[in-house]
């Protein structure tokens, strides 16, 4: 039975669709269907975030099949300085999983390995892919199995991927560490709002995670023998929606100190930022976002001169910035409680010459003048 409201909504939607230009259809038709067997293949070794495997910013040839392999690792990981342990599930051993970079119209061919030593079934849902729950339906692997999935990267942008093995397993696997991102670059590279090319000298991938670690009666974080042992307590805590840890790259302080990200004055850095589960709002303290794809999709012109950008839970965005001053920059989730109390803080160490024109301390602190 169709209610009156649904009928009205349906009519309105039909009108909108009828009035829309058939962009999407045209785009698909223009690309065509290449002969897969004839396409060149390229094997890419993934690297651990925040680093990103070597890649071309502008594609030098036509579409290719890019082959990746990721091994799922279930393992305990320490997530803060107190030694709190998460029974983590990871793509390729890291939280987040590695950033994969391809170009639009390339084919992503992923072999997903779930070693016998794991205890749970896993799969992968690519937000960049079309159909079969993002590939989740075609990629479920039990311990001791592997699967190979291929999808065509039809849309450019930064997209989350995550494990989604059904029902309550989905959020649990995600907040146990199973998410990452893929960046599908336009074949001719990034462009500003006028269509002029944009380039980056360095790229970093920051994957933000919300963790929910149960506490015992005394208020201490509990550790568990296995992920399965942690499930019941963790799920109960997750339902409250308040994380105990909100961190970049798997643990409090993962991108600080010796592991702080680096750059030089004058260099342009692309920061890809994902959060598979929860909204976040990156901010570079003392810097800006020169060009920001908040939603991460490169078909849209970048926003300019942002102070803070919003990454919706379940998405990845990209921010381009040219450093103008040396020093220590904090890169934070600008919910400052999450940044300082829950852990969502990273640092950039930037070398170079200070520009007095941009900022100077006119007079050092001194006692208030009384006369």
């Amino acid at each position: 039975m169709i209610t009156r409201r649904e009928a009205l909504m349906g009519t309105a939607m039909a009108a909108v669709v009828a009035g829309m230009p058939p962009f999407a259809t045209e785009a698909r038709a223009a690309v065509g269907r290449p002969d897969i067997a004839a396409l060149p293949r390229q094997k890419v070794m993934l690297v651990t975030p925040p680093f990103v495997h070597a890649h071309e910013q502008v594609a030098s040839g036509g579409p290719k099949i890019i082959e990746f392999t990721m091994t799922i690792e279930e393992k305990p990981m320490v997530i803060d300085d107190e030694g709190t342990t998460l029974q983590a599930m990871t793509f390729n051993g890291s939280v987040p999983g590695p950033l994969m970079v391809v170009h639009q119209d390339d084919y992503v061919e992923l072999t997903l390995v779930n070693p016998e030593s794991n205890s749970l079934a896993h799969n992968i849902d690519f937000h960049a892919a079309t159909g079969a729950l993002g590939g989740g339906e075609l990629s479920l692997v039990n311990p001791g199995e592997q699967v190979t999935l291929r999808f065509r990267a039809t849309r450019s942008g930064t997209f989350v991927y995550h494990c989604a093995p059904g029902g309550p397993m989905i959020p649990w696997h995600v907040v146990s560490g199973m998410s990452g991102a893929i960046m599908v670059l336009p074949r001719d590279g990034l462009k500003d709002e006028k269509g002029e090319p944009l380039r980056y000298d360095r790229i970093y991938y920051v994957g933000e995670s919300d963790f929910y670690i149960p506490r015992d009666r005394d208020g201490r974080y509990k550790s568990y023998e296995s992920a399965g042992d942690a499930y019941q307590d963790t799920m109960e805590l997750m339902r409250g929606l308040i994380p105990t840890h909100e961190v970049f790259n798997g643990r409090v302080g993962a991108l600080t100190g010796d592991n702080a990200m680096t750059a030089n004055v004058g260099e342009t850095v692309l920061i890809v930022h994902s959060q598979a589960n929860r909204d976040t709002r990156p901010h570079l303290i003392g810097g800006h976002g020169d060009h920001v794809w908040e939603q991460g999709k490169f078909a849209n012109p970048p926003a300019k001169d942002l102070e803070t950008w919003f990454i919706r839970g379940g998405s990845a965005g990209a921010a381009l910035y040219t450093f103008l001053q040396p020093g220590i920059y904090a890169y934070v989730n600008h919910n400052l409680i999450e940044a300082v109390e829950l852990g969502a803080t990273a640092h950039f160490m930037v070398e170079g010459d200070w520009d007095d024109d941009l900022m100077t301390q006119v007079e050092a602190p001194k006692a208030i003048a009384t006369n």
Binding site: D81, E82, G83, D218, G219, R220, T256, G257, D258, A260, I285, Q325, P326, G327, I328, A330, V340, E341, H347, M349, V350, E351, G352, D353, W354, D356, Q361, E363, A364, P365, K366, A367
Partner: protein, 295 residues
């Protein structure tokens, strides 16, 4: 019970812990509130001269400068052999004179109390003085430096003064902080875990930083850098000493959230007290002299 008797049996570790260990039950404390006066903690007598970098920030020609080192004659004092423990502090809470600490739950009673602010430490000192009949207070930064001896570190961050590029100082300090070793564990450990210094004081520069009575201050140095031309004190912020020097607002109980945007904060905040000499009478001076000789 006099101090000297306690000193003799001091090998049993903290005197304050004796009643509980003899009776074998911590609930002795819960059932029967401590009636003052009760035995004071084991202490070590300290006096002498100390050369140490002054706490606070220093400016010279409007630029950050290294802290000047001063040689100070410190009047004789006694300082607690161990940091104030969970058990010690609980007595103050039970007497209604101290607020419950934010210490991590389930800690052994002989663990140094942590999760305490400067205000908490001062409240404890006031109560403890009354309870024991002595004059107890937090040590000054100079007293702490003298007592800590070879365990004292004070400022250890390089001050790179580059008039054209303030970022050089920030970067070098950041690198030094990153390279600075941390205690192997951040969780407070039972008393004695970090060993004694040459004076016999335990757990200095372990993973519990200690509040001092010294205020944070910013001073302007004379152009030659030798004298202090002027100082603005902020006594809402006090100096903490430990593996490295830190400054915290008086109400902060957790070093991790009390620091600034970048930098490695203290693992835990705690304290130990000093006792001022009881008097200048002959008997007291003889007692102190004898104790010094036999230490």
């Amino acid at each position: 019970m006099s101090f000297d008797i306690l000193h003799i049996i001091g090998g049993l570790a903290a005197a304050a812990a004796i009643p509980a260990s003899l009776l074998g039950a911590a609930d002795w404390l819960v059932d029967r509130p401590v009636e003052p006066p009760f035995p004071a903690a084991q202490t070590v007598a300290v006096s002498g001269r100390v050369a140490y970098p002054l706490p606070g920030e220093f400016l010279r020609d409007g630029r950050p400068a290294a802290a000047p080192r001063r040689l100070e004659e410190v009047a004789a004092f006694e300082i607690m052999t161990y940091q104030v423990s969970v058990l010690d502090y609980r007595r103050c809470v039970e007497a209604g004179a101290c607020r419950q600490a934010d210490a991590r739950p389930g800690q052994a009673l002989r663990t140094p109390v942590t999760g305490v602010s400067h205000l908490d430490a001062e409240a404890y000192a006031a109560w403890y003085s009354q309870a024991t009949g002595g004059r107890w207070r937090l040590p000054s930064a100079a007293e702490w430096a003298l007592a800590a001896g070879e365990r004292f570190s004070g400022e250890d961050l390089p001050v790179v003064a580059d008039a054209d590029n303030p970022a050089r100082r920030w970067l070098s300090a950041y690198r030094a902080e990153s390279a600075r070793g941390r205690a192997s564990v951040s969780e407070p450990q039972p008393r004695g875990a970090f060993g004694a210094n040459r004076r016999g004081l335990y757990d200095l520069a372990g993973n519990v930083w200690e509040w001092t009575a010294t205020c944070y201050a910013r001073s302007t140095l004379t152009p030659d850098g030798r004298e202090i031309a002027g100082t603005v004190e902020n006594c809402g912020v006090h100096v903490l000493e430990g593996r490295h020097r830190a400054y915290m607002s008086d109400f902060i109980r957790d070093g991790k959230s009390g620091g600034c945007a970048v930098g490695v904060p203290p693992d835990n905040l705690g304290f130990r007290l000093v006792r001022e000499p009881r008097g200048t009478g002959l008997a007291e001076r003889v007692r102190q002299a004898v104790r010094r000789v036999f230490r």
